[in-house]
C-alpha cells in the first residue's frame, strides 16, 4: 500500500523536467512530510526516518524510470481493470441467475397449452410426424474439401453458423450443389441432420419446432411416437429419394409408427415448404415403383389421419421470384435470413449477394416455391383476386387492439382504403418502375414478350467476372435492357423471364417442378413426379377420412409484388436488377420500399396458403375426388406485448406461429384424437373466402 501511495505522489509531479532539483526537493518534501506526520512520535524514530528520506533520493530516481513505464501501461491497465470488473460482475450475475429458484415467487409464467391440456386429460394418441420447411433443417458435413478439415459431422447449416465467418468461401462451396445435376458436387457430401434435433432450434435460442415438441411431450409424446422427417431441403423433392432415399425412409417410419402404436393413424404436421414436400410424398407413396414408393392406392387412407399444414405455400410465394431474380427476398429465402445487416451494406453487398445468388441458384427446391397457377390464380395485368385489399386494415386492427387513438385511425383507414382500390395491381408481380405498376394496361408498351424471351439471349464473356459465376454474366447489356423495357410481368410471363435470365437453373428445375393448372387430370402425363408437388396438377389420394388443415397466421403485411429497377453500375459484379426501394406509396399504401403488400403471415400471402383448403379442395372437386374434409384455421397476429414474451405466444408470423398458443392447442387436440369439427371447424379472419370466390377455376 505504501508503494501505491508513493507512486501517486510521484504522479503529481509529472511535468517536472529537472531531475536533480526534483529529487532533492522531493526528498525534502518527503522528509518534511514525514516529520509532520511523526511530530507526535518519539524522536528516536526521527533519525531513522531522515536516513530513509536520504535513501529515497536514489529510490526516486529509479522510480522515475519505473514511472515512465507505468505511464505507458496505464491505459492497458485500466482496460484490464474494466474488463476484469465486467467479467466479475458478469460471473456474479450468472451465478446469481443460476442460483435463483426456477420460478420466482412473484412471477408466474403462463401455463403452457400442453400442461393445461394434459390436466384436462388430453393424452397422446396418434403418432405425429413433423415435416420441416426450407432452410430450417440443419445440414452437416460428411465429406469435404481440405478446407473443411475438422468439420466432419459438424453442422454447416443451422446451429451457430460460425463457419461462415471463419471461412466464408469454403462454406459457400460446400453448400452449393452441382449446377448441372442438382446433386452433390464431386468430393462433397453435405447431409441433413436426422432426428428431432434437425429443426427444433434453427440457431441457438431461435426455436422452430422446439415449443411444439415440448408441448407434445407434456401430453405424453416421445421419440417413439413423434418423428421429424428431416430431408435435404436444397434438393428437388424427387432427388431426396434418389440420393438419400428420404421418401422411403419416411414411408417406412410412418408404417412402423402406425404398427407400434396400436394401429393408430398418423397426424402429419408439415411447415412451409414441407407442405409441398408432403404433397409430393402423398403421390409418391401410392404410385408403383420405380418412380413411386409402391404403397398401393390405399396407403394414405390406412396410415394418415390428418395433415395439418402450417403456413402452407400451396400456390407458391412471390418472394421466391425476387429471390431468384436478385436474391433480395426476405426471411423465407435463404441467406438473408442470417445477417441482413451485412448483406444490405453496400460495401460488402455486391459480392455477398452474388455469392448468395450463385449458391441459391443451385438449390432446386426454391423453384418449388415459384407462384403456381399463373394468371388464373395470381391475377393478370389488370386484375387480381386480392384487389381492393386495404393495407391499413391489418395495421388498424393491431392498433385498435393496443388501444391507440382509434378515431383518427379509423378515418385514415377509410380514406386510403378507397384510394388504394384502383391503385394496387397485384397481378403485376414484377414491374420495372413505379409507374408501370399502376398505369392501365392499355398504356403499357407492347413488346412482344415471346419473341424477346424465347429468342436466344446474346451473350458476352467477360473474363474478369469468372470467379463469381451467376448466369447474369452471360447476358449482354442489351438483353438486360430488353427485359426491363417490357415493364411488367405477371405470374405467367414471369416464368419466361426466369427462363431467360437463368436458363440453366430453370432447365434443371423444371424437370422437377411444374407451375401450371391441369386441364385434364386423367392425362397420364400427370403421373410424372414433376407434377406431384403442385396442388393444381395433382389429385389428392383416395382417402375420404383424411382431414386437411390449413393453419396460418394473418395480419402481417406480406410481399406480393415488386417494383424493380436496373442496377446503376454496369460492372460485371453486380446483379443487373434490384428492387427499387425508393418507390413509396402514400402513408398507408400497400407500396413500401418498392414492394406491394397484402395480408399474410409475412412470407406467404393468404391466397397461397388458404385457397386450396377454402375452395380448391373444399367438397368433392376434381383435385379432391374422394372428398377429404378441409379446414381453414387462421391465427390473428398479435405482436408480443413485452420483451419478456420473447417471440410472442400469439404471433402469426411464418415461423413464430409455431409458438402460438392457439395453434399449439389445435395441433395437440387433433393429435389426441379430435376431429376438425370438434376443434371448431373453420376459423377465419381474412378475406380468403371472398378472394377464392373471385378466382375462376374449374373444379
Amino acid at each position: 500500500m505504501g508503494s501505491v501511495l508513493r507512486l501517486r505522489k510521484l504522479c503529481y509531479v509529472e511535468p517536472v523536467k529537472f531531475q536533480s532539483f526534483e529529487s532533492i526537493k522531493n526528498a525534502e518534501k518527503q522528509q518534511q512530510q514525514q516529520q509532520q506526520q511523526e511530530e507526535r512520535t518519539v524522536s528516536e524514530v526521527e533519525n531513522a526516518v531522515q536516513k530513509n528520506g536520504r535513501d529515497d533520493d536514489e529510490d526516486t530516481k529509479k522510480k522515475k524510470e519505473g514511472k515512465k513505464k507505468m505511464k505507458e501501461w496505464r491505459c492497458i491497465d485500466s482496460c484490464c481493470w474494466v474488463i476484469g470488473c465486467l467479467c466479475t460482475v458478469w460471473w456474479l450475475l450468472v451465478f446469481l441467475y443460476y442460483s435463483l429458484p426456477a420460478a420466482l415467487p412473484g412471477f408466474q409464467p403462463p401455463e403452457s397449452p400442453g400442461a393445461r391440456l394434459g390436466r384436462e386429460g388430453v393424452r397422446a394418441l396418434h403418432p405425429v410426424v413433423l415435416v420441416p420447411g426450407i432452410s430450417t433443417g440443419g445440414l452437416e458435413l460428411w465429406e469435404g474439401k481440405p478446407c473443411t478439415e475438422g468439420l466432419f459431422r459438424k453442422r454447416l447449416w443451422g446451429g451457430s453458423f460460425t463457419e461462415i465467418l471463419k471461412r466464408p468461401l469454403c462454406w459457400l462451396e460446400h453448400l452449393s450443389l452441382d449446377n448441372e445435376t442438382g446433386l452433390d458436387p464431386p468430393g462433397i457430401r453435405v447431409r441433413a441432420v436426422p432426428g428431432l434435433v434437425a429443426a427444433d432450434y434453427f440457431a441457438p435460442g431461435y426455436f422452430v419446432w422446439a415449443v411444439l415438441i415440448q408441448n407434445l411431450a407434456k401430453i405424453g409424446y416421445e421419440e417413439k411416437n413423434m418423428h421429424m422427417a428431416a430431408y435435404d431441403w436444397r434438393l428437388s423433392f424427387q432427388n431426396t429419394e434418389t440420393r438419400d432415399q428420404a421418401l422411403s425412409r419416411l414411408k417406412s417410419t410412418i408404417e412402423l409408427m402406425y404398427l407400434t402404436n396400436g394401429r393408430k393413424k398418423v397426424v402429419v404436421v408439415p411447415h412451409s415448404m414441407g407442405v409441398l414436400y408432403f404433397l409430393h410424398f402423398l403421390k409418391w407413396v401410392e404410385l408403383p415403383p420405380p418412380m413411386g414408393g409402391g404403397g398401393g392406392p390405399g396407403w394414405c387412407a390406412t396410415h394418415i389421419k390428418a395433415i395439418m399444414n402450417i403456413g402452407p405455400p400451396f400456390l407458391g410465394v412471390p418472394k421466391a421470384v425476387s429471390n431468384i431474380l436478385s436474391s433480395e427476398a426476405k426471411d423465407v429465402a435463404v441467406i438473408r435470413s442470417m445477417d441482413p445487416g451485412v448483406l444490405d451494406s453496400e460495401i460488402l453487398g455486391l459480392q455477398t449477394l452474388e455469392h448468395a445468388m450463385r449458391v441459391a441458384r443451385t438449390w432446386d427446391s426454391i423453384i418449388s416455391l415459384v407462384p403456381k397457377g399463373g394468371e388464373t390464380i395470381w391475377g393478370d395485368l389488370d386484375w387480381s383476386p386480392e384487389e381492393g385489399h386495404g393495407c391499413s386494415l391489418a395495421k388498424r386492427r393491431t392498433l385498435q387492439s393496443s388501444g391507440n387513438n382509434k378515431n383518427s385511425n379509423h378515418t385514415n383507414g377509410k380514406r386510403t382504403f378507397s384510394a388504394m382500390k384502383d391503385l394496387a395491381k397485384y397481378g403485376r408481380i414484377i414491374s420495372f418502375g413505379k409507374e408501370a405498376s399502376y398505369i392501365p394496361s392499355s398504356q403499357l408498351p407492347s413488346v412482344d414478350l415471346k419473341e424477346l424471351l424465347l429468342g436466344k439471349p446474346s451473350t458476352i464473356s467477360n473474363s474478369t467476372c469468372q470467379e463469381v459465376w451467376t448466369e447474369y454474366n452471360e447476358l449482354s447489356r442489351e438483353s438486360i435492357r430488353d427485359v426491363a423495357d417490357n415493364k411488367v410481368y405477371t405470374s405467367q410471363t414471369l416464368l419466361d423471364l426466369l427462363r431467360f435470365v437463368a436458363p440453366k437453373m430453370m432447365k434443371r428445375a423444371e424437370a422437377h417442378f411444374s407451375h401450371g393448372i391441369a386441364d385434364d387430370l386423367n392425362d397420364p402425363k400427370y403421373n410424372h413426379y414433376k407434377y406431384w408437388s403442385n396442388p393444381l396438377e395433382m389429385r389428392l389420394p383416395g382417402a375420404p377420412d383424411m382431414e386437411i388443415y390449413c393453419l396460418y397466421g394473418v395480419g402481417i403485411p406480406t410481399e406480393r409484388s415488386y417494383v424493380y429497377k436496373m442496377s446503376p453500375t454496369g460492372k460485371c459484379k453486380s446483379i443487373p436488377f434490384r428492387i427499387d426501394s425508393t418507390a413509396e406509396g402514400y402513408e398507408d399504401s400497400c407500396l413500401k420500399g418498392g414492394v406491394y403488400f397484402v395480408d399474410g403471415d409475412e412470407s406467404v400471402p393468404v391466397l397461397s396458403s388458404g385457397f386450396m383448403c377454402a375452395r380448391g379442395w373444399r367438397g368433392k372437386t376434381r383435385f379432391n375426388p374422394s372428398g377429404a374434409t378441409t379446414y381453414v384455421r387462421e391465427y390473428q397476429h398479435r405482436p408480443p406485448a413485452s420483451l419478456l414474451e420473447g417471440r410472442g405466444s400469439a404471433s402469426g408470423a411464418h415461423v413464430d406461429i409455431m409458438g402460438n398458443v392457439a395453434f399449439i392447442e389445435d395441433v395437440l387436440r387433433v393429435a389426441a384424437g379430435a376431429t376438425g369439427e370438434e376443434i371448431g371447424g373453420d376459423r377465419i379472419y381474412s378475406d380468403i373466402m371472398r378472394m377464392s370466390e373471385r378466382i375462376n377455376i374449374q373444379l
Partner: protein
C-alpha cells in the same frame, strides 16, 4: 487534484527559470520556502490528500483483483482466438514432428485401395455408453427437457445429485419408468459417438467408415435404453421393432445388400436377443419368420462381447464396487473412492443400479461348467507375466516359470467370491462352508436414519450377513444363490428376464421364452449358414476374474461387504492385486467370456449352432499409447478404447466393403483361448 497539479506545475516552471541562476542552495531554499508556504496555506488540503490516499488504499485490493481478472480474461481470450485461428491440422503437425509420421487412418488407407461402402452397417452400443435424455420429470428437473441426463457433461449429476439419481432410477417393482418420469434413449449416431465430450466411443469408427462413403442412410445406431431388460425395451419403446424395421429398410434401399451388425459390449447380448426375437412369432417375438436373419444379415462383428457374462457384474451388484463397466464409478472414481462421501454415494449408486435390470444380463453364465468349480477353472495355470517374459531373455522366464508353478496351485479362479484370503487359496476340503440359504435373515437392521437410501441390505439382519460371510466361498453357481439371498427383489425381477444356465435339451419348448434369448448357452443361433460371426476383442490387460471380500466394519448404513483391498500377491507378477484375481482380457471382459463361443461353442456344427454359421476369433494385442499425444492410442486393446484400434477398424471396414472372414485371414489369436476352451467340458 487538478489544483495541486497546477500548483506543482507552476512550481516547476519557476524552478525552470531559476535554473539559469544555477544556485542550488537557493533553489533548495526556494523549494523549502515553497513548501513552507504550502504548509501554511493548506494543511487541510494535505489532510484531504491523505484521506484520499487512504481511500485509494482501501480500493486498491479490489482494483488489483479486477485488474488481475481482466488480465487473465484478456490473455485467455487472446489464446482462444489464436487457437481458433490456428489451422486445424496444426496439432497433427506437432505430433508428427515429435513422433514421426503417423500412419494413415484406416479409412483413408483403404479408400486408396479402392474400397467403397457396400453393406449397410448397424451399430449396437453397450451398457452405459448410450445417452439418455429427459422427456418428463419431476419439478426438480425443470428446464432439462430433452437434455442429456446420462452422457454429455454430466453437469446435472453434480448440480442436483439427488434429483439426478431419482430420475436415473427405474421402478423397483416393474423395472420400468417410475411414475411421472420418462427418461428415453437419445436416437441417431449422436447417441453413442461420444460418451462425454472428447471421450469417443463410436466416433472414430464412424469417421473412418465415412471416409469410404458411409453416411447416415447406410449407418444406423440401434440406440436403446440400456437400463431396461432387453424385452422391456420392446415393451416400453418398441425398440426391437424399430431396429427390425430399420434394418429391413436399409437393406431394401441399398439394393438388397445385407447388413453388417457391429454390437459392442452388452450390445452383443442385446443383439443375440434381437436375433431370436425377430424370428419368433408375435406377440412375444417380432414375427419376421424363420429366415429373417439369413435374408438381412451378412455378418455380426461382436466387439468385446461378454457372451458368458463378466465377473465384474457380480461385484457391481453385490457391493457396487466394480470398476468401469458398472455404473456411476465410470463418472468419477476419485469422488466415489473418497471415504468421506462413500457411505452415502455408494449406497445411492447401488440403489440406482439395482433398479437396472440390464446389469443382470452380465452375471456369469454357464455356472461351474464354464467358470470353474471350487478346485478347478479353465484358466488355471495362467501367468499374467508370461507374454511379457517371452520378450525378455529366456533365463528370466525359466526362473519365473518355476516360480509360477507354485502360484498355479494357488489361484482358484473358480471361486468368484471368497471371504478372506485363506478361503481363496486353501484346498476345498479344508474350507468349512456353512449353508446360508436357510439362514434366518434376522432382525431388520434398517433404522430410520438410513431410510432415505434404500438398498435391500437393510432388509437383512446381522445374522443373515454373517451367514453369507460364513459360507466362505462362492462359485459361479452359488453366486446366483448369494445374489438371490441378498437382493431377492432385484433377482426376482431379473430372473423373469434373464437366465444363466446351460440348456440340456435345446428343443425343450420352454426355451421359446424370451428370458433365454440372450444366453448363448440356452439358445440356438438362427439357421442362416451365410452369416459370419466374429468375436473381436482386446487382450493383454489384466481383467477382474475373482474377488476376496470382507465384512465392512459394522455400521448399519453401510453396505455390509466390500472388497478386501489389503490382499496383495506375493510377487510383483502375481494375479492377486488389491483383493482381485485377474486374468487375461480387455480390462472388463475375460478372454474366456469373449472368445469361448466363437472358439468352441459355435465352431462348426454344434447344437448351439445347428446351421454351421462360420465363426472367427480376432484378438487385438494391447499396446498402450506411446505418448500423451496419441490420446487413447491406436493399438489399444481395452474394452472401450479398442474401438479406436486401427487394426480392428480396418477389419470392420473390409467386411463392410464386402470381404469375408477368410479374406481377413481367419482367426487371429494371441491368448490361450483355444487351450482354455478345450478344458471346458460341454456337450456340443
Amino acid at each position: 487534484m487538478p489544483l495541486t497539479q497546477r500548483k506543482k506545475g507552476a512550481e516547476a516552471d519557476k524552478a525552470a527559470s531559476d535554473k539559469a541562476a544555477s544556485s542550488e542552495e537557493k533553489i533548495v531554499q526556494d523549494g523549502s520556502e515553497d513548501e513552507d508556504r504550502k504548509k501554511k496555506e493548506s494543511p487541510a488540503g494535505k489532510k484531504k490528500k491523505k484521506e484520499r490516499g487512504g481511500e485509494k488504499g482501501k480500493w486498491s485490493c479490489l482494483d488489483s483483483c479486477c485488474w488481475f481478472v481482466g488480465c487473465v480474461c484478456t490473455v485467455w481470450w487472446l489464446l482462444l482466438f489464436l487457437y481458433n485461428a490456428m489451422p486445424s491440422s496444426f496439432p497433427q503437425y506437432v505430433t508428427e514432428a515429435i513422433t514421426g509420421p503417423l500412419p494413415d487412418p484406416p479409412g483413408v488407407k483403404l479408400k486408396k485401395e479402392g474400397l467403397t461402402a457396400k453393406h449397410p452397417v448397424v451399430f449396437v452400443p453397450g451398457i452405459v455408453t448410450g445417452g439418455l435424455e429427459l422427456w418428463e420429470g419431476h419439478e426438480c428437473a425443470e428446464g432439462l427437457f430433452r437434455k442429456r441426463l446420462w452422457g454429455g457433461t454430466f453437469g446435472e449429476a453434480y448440480k442436483r445429485p439427488l434429483c439426478w439419481v431419482e430420475h436415473m432410477s427405474l421402478d423397483n417393482e416393474t423395472g420400468l419408468d417410475p411414475p411421472g418420469i420418462r427418461l428415453r434413449p437419445v436416437t441417431g449416431l449422436v447417441a453413442a459417438d461420444y460418451f462425454m465430450p472428447g471421450y469417443f466411443v463410436w466416433a472414430v469408427l464412424i469417421a473412418n467408415l465415412a471416409r469410404i462413403g458411409y453416411e447416415e442412410k447406410t449407418m444406423y445406431m440401434a440406440a436403446y435404453d440400456w437400463r431396461l431388460s432387453f424385452q422391456n425395451t420392446e415393451v416400453r419403446d418398441q425398440t426391437l421393432s424399430r431396429i427390425k424395421s430399420h434394418i429391413e429398410m436399409m437393406v431394401a434401399t441399398n439394393g438388397g445388400k445385407k447388413a453388417v451388425v457391429i454390437p459392442h459390449s452388452m450390445g452383443v447380448l442385446y443383439f443375440l436377443h434381437f436375433m431370436k426375437w425377430v424370428e419368433a412369432p408375435a406377440p412375444m417375438g417380432g414375427g419376421g419368420g424363420p429366415d429373417w436373419c439369413s435374408k438381412h444379415i451378412k455378418a455380426i462383428m461382436n466387439i468385446g462381447g461378454p457372451f458368458l457374462g463378466v465377473p465384474k457384474a457380480v461385484s457391481g451388484l453385490f457391493s457396487a464396487e466394480a470398476k468401469d463397466i458398472a455404473v456411476a464409478r465410470a463418472i468419477a472414481p476419485g469422488f466415489l473412492g473418497n471415504d468421506i462421501f462413500r457411505v452415502q454415494t455408494l449406497q445411492r449408486v447401488m440403489k440406482m443400479s439395482r433398479t437396472w435390470d440390464s446389469t443382470m444380463s452380465m452375471i456369469p453364465k454357464g455356472g461351474e461348467t464354464i467358470w470353474g468349480g471350487l478346485d478347478w477353472s479353465p484358466e488355471e495355470g495362467y501367468l499374467p507375466s508370461k507374454r511379457r517374459q517371452i520378450m525378455n531373455d529366456s533365463q528370466v522366464s525359466s526362473e519365473s516359470g518355476t516360480n509360477s508353478s507354485s502360484s498355479r496351485a494357488r489361484v482358484n479362479y473358480g471361486r468368484i467370491i471368497s471371504f478372506g484370503k485363506d478361503a481363496a487359496e486353501s484346498p476345498s476340503s479344508e474350507i468349512e462352508m456353512i449353508d446360508f440359504r436357510d439362514a434366518v435373515k434376522g432382525r431388520n437392521l434398517a433404522n430410520t436414519t438410513c431410510r432415505d437410501v434404500w438398498t435391500e441390505y437393510h432388509d437383512m439382519g446381522i445374522e443373515g450377513i454373517r451367514a453369507v460371510a460364513e459360507h466362505r466361498v462362492y462359485t459361479a453357481e452359488t453366486v446366483l444363490d448369494l445374489l438371490q439371498f441378498v437382493a431377492p427383489k432385484m433377482m426376482a425381477r431379473g430372473s423373469a428376464h434373464f437366465s444363466y444356465g446351460i440348456a440340456d435339451d435345446l428343443d425343450d419348448p420352454k426355451y421359446e421364452h424370451y428370458k433365454y434369448w440372450s444366453n448363448p448357452l440356452e439358445t440356438k443361433l438362427p439357421s442362416a449358414s451365410d452369416i459370419e460371426i466374429f468375436s473381436m476383442y482386446g487382450v493383454g490387460i489384466p481383467t477382474e476374474r475373482a474377488y476376496i471380500y470382507k465384512m465392512s466394519p459394522s455400521a448399519e448404513c453401510f453396505i455390509p461387504f466390500q472388497i478386501d483391498t489389503s490382499f496383495e500377491g506375493e510377487d510383483e507378477d502375481s494375479c492377486l492385486k488389491d483383493g482381485v484375481f485377474t486374468v487375461e482380457g480387455d480390462e472388463t471382459v475375460p478372454v474366456l467370456s469373449a472368445g469361448f463361443m466363437c472358439a468352441k461353442g459355435w465352431r462348426g456344427k454344434t447344437r448351439f449352432n445347428p446351421s454351421g454359421i462360420r465363426t472367427y476369433v480376432r484378438e487385438y494385442d494391447h499396446a498402450p499409447p506411446a505418448n500423451l499425444l496419441e490420446g487413447r492410442g491406436t493399438q489399444s486393446g481395452s474394452h472401450v478404447d479398442v474401438m479406436g484400434n486401427f487394426a480392428l477398424i480396418e477389419d470392420i471396414i473390409r467386411v463392410a466393403a464386402g470381404a469375408t472372414g477368410e479374406d481377413l485371414g481367419g482367426d487371429q489369436v494371441y491368448s490361450d483361448i483355444f487351450k482354455w476352451s478345450e478344458k471346458i467340458n460341454l456337450a456340443l
